[in-house]
Amino acid sequence: MAVRKKNRSKPATEIVSVPDVEEVDAIEEVREAFEAPMLPVRAEPGPTFAGWVARRGLLAAIIFGVLLAPQFVDNVRENMISFALVYVVIGLSINILIGYAGQISLGHQAFVGVGAFTSAYIVSNSHLSFWIGLALAGLTGAGAALLLGLVALRLRGLYLALITLAYGFVAQNSIFNIPALTGGGAGAEAPRPAGFTGNMAFVYLCFIILAVLMYVDWRLVRSKVGRAIFAIRENELAAASFGINVTAYKLIAFVISGVFAGIGGSLFAHRSTVVVSADFNFALALTFVLMVVVGGLGSRVGVFIGSAFFALFPLIFNRFSKYTGLIGALLLLLTLTTFPGGIAQQIAPILRWFGGAPLRGHGKSQVIQSGGAGVRP
């Protein structure tokens, strides 16, 4: 083995820096042979300086608008905003599992509920701080998701969907009804943390936590972790051939999703200050799924809009509350049958514009092509 390469990490440097006439010819030959079917690559000119200013300015204005919104609404509406933010946290959690990992979850309310009851118990029964409750909620949510992940190693597609559904049912009817832990039917109290008892303050607490989670989600996609999870979803065999530990990364996807769900559960509980098992029913699980599907699986922005929409829509149109559930379900069916990419697909041109591309009509964006109808067996 004396002839092994000296510099293993940068083979290309060696090649390019020590060209041999004869060998360069070989490469040229390959290039020419493959040139024939090559498509011309259109170089997109980037936006002008003014274009960048406009894009960044508008983006900043939107973000500030959202952040300042609680300042201009009444007390009741503040509470609605925090509700929407909690849903977005849960939406991000589901998106990791369904959108990134391609594992269907119809029992996500179980993870959210585990987090909610954990946090409530820690604060009300153990008299510890909200922050410890929040952390432990993330931990127990991860534990609950890990259990399901172990099952998912054996089962996939429809069977996994069935198990998750059953898991949710059992969690709601049995586990969340153990009186010693959850207060039984009466529910558990979950007071808000000191300093955040007001509705306005709680909104900003949600904003902070959501910002942290969105950062983690962003890094997830841009690191080897997210790439491994994508690769496993699309082609398990190829993923393993690139040295990815398929078993470990499947479980990691469940755990990360579980942490997000648990944290979402904790916020869910402390926002309403009391939590009962009936909160975590099957209809809620379906709402969670349909808000990410309608928002656009795999797209962070789409999930944000979809989740916030499904949280706010019944509250804002409460005069038509009879119909909001129906409209949501119909939107889901419409999305699945006509626009599998959801809201993200619809707003793709705008998102691309923010990224520096000229504003053009519809077309599939990168996001859709990678996430797309990521619900697959």
Binding site: R219, R222, S223, A240, N245, G372
Partner: protein, 257 residues
């Protein structure tokens, strides 16, 4: 010494004996061909070497290590790279993403560090990206780095897969029909590329290949499988004239080749 030493390999699927008593050696710096008619068990053999299937009998030794029973991803970390007949890339993602996925094992940072975006992970990501660009540049694919793999012509997808596998720094390559879907000119050019890669990167190669002129030109040694058993082995010219091989394989598909 042998890079790959397979002894008495056999695998059964239910009532079907897919492979039996297969002995194959690949020595340092060799390009070895594995040929045989469709359904002869060539890809199954690859899957046994990579740990996708667990063989019923026999041993697989890679350099000094017995690898039977070890999961695929661990075998890859020993320095084995593999390509697939139908392209082992994530086709819905851009070329660049695939180049990064391929370097998974080289990314030296923890999961938590990646999720929190700690500096170690960001620096590593930059190294991986630079490395990917270098290899893409070398392979003449750098213009396609942002193109979704599925949108590329088939030949380029094949080339991209090779680029991705090279990015993972392999010492030993298993290529599954690298020239399928290529024109004769492309296949010829591919042969030159392979020879060059071997010289430059010190690669040892075992490849499944149907394209006989390519096998004769680049391979140092050839094994022929038929119905899961070794039919013949030898130098390419010998194999090409071997009566049983001609009857079983060349006879039906490449009589005029």
């Amino acid at each position: 010494m042998s890079v790959l030493e397979v002894r008495n390999l056999g695998i059964r699927f239910g009532g079907l004996q897919a492979l039996a008593e297969v002995d194959i050696d690949v020595r340092e710096w060799e390009i070895v061909g594995l040929i045989g008619p469709n359904g002869a068990g060539k890809t199954t053999f690859f899957n046994c070497v990579m740990g996708v299937y667990k063989p019923t009998t026999g041993t697989v030794q890679y350099r000094d290590e017995q690898v039977v029973g070890r999961p695929t991803h661990e075998r890859v970390r020993l320095g084995i790279g593999r390509t697939f007949q139908n392209i082992g890339l994530v086709k819905v993602l851009p070329v660049m993403e695939n180049m990064l996925i391929a370097q998974h094992a080289k990314a030296r940072y923890g999961v938590l560090s990646g999720l929190l975006g700690l500096r170690a992970s960001l620096e590593q990501e930059k190294v991986l990206k630079d490395n990917a660009l270098e290899i893409l540049d070398f392979m003449g694919l750098v213009d396609y780095r942002n193109a979704v793999v599925a949108s590329l012509p088939y030949g380029l997808q094949k080339l991209t897969e090779i680029a991705a596998v090279l990015a993972s720094d392999p010492e030993f390559l298993l290529l599954d029909e690298p020239t399928s879907g290529m024109s004769p000119e492309e296949a010829h050019a591919f042969g030159d590329l392979l020879l060059k890669l071997r010289t430059e990167l010190n690669l040892t190669v075992l490849m499944i290949e149907h394209h006989v002129p390519l096998v004769v030109r680049v391979c140092d040694y050839v094994y022929c499988l038929n119905f899961g058993r070794l039919l013949a082995e030898g130098r390419p010219e010998e194999i090409r004239r071997h009566p049983e091989v001609v009857a079983a394989y060349l006879g039906e598909e490449h009589a005029t080749a």
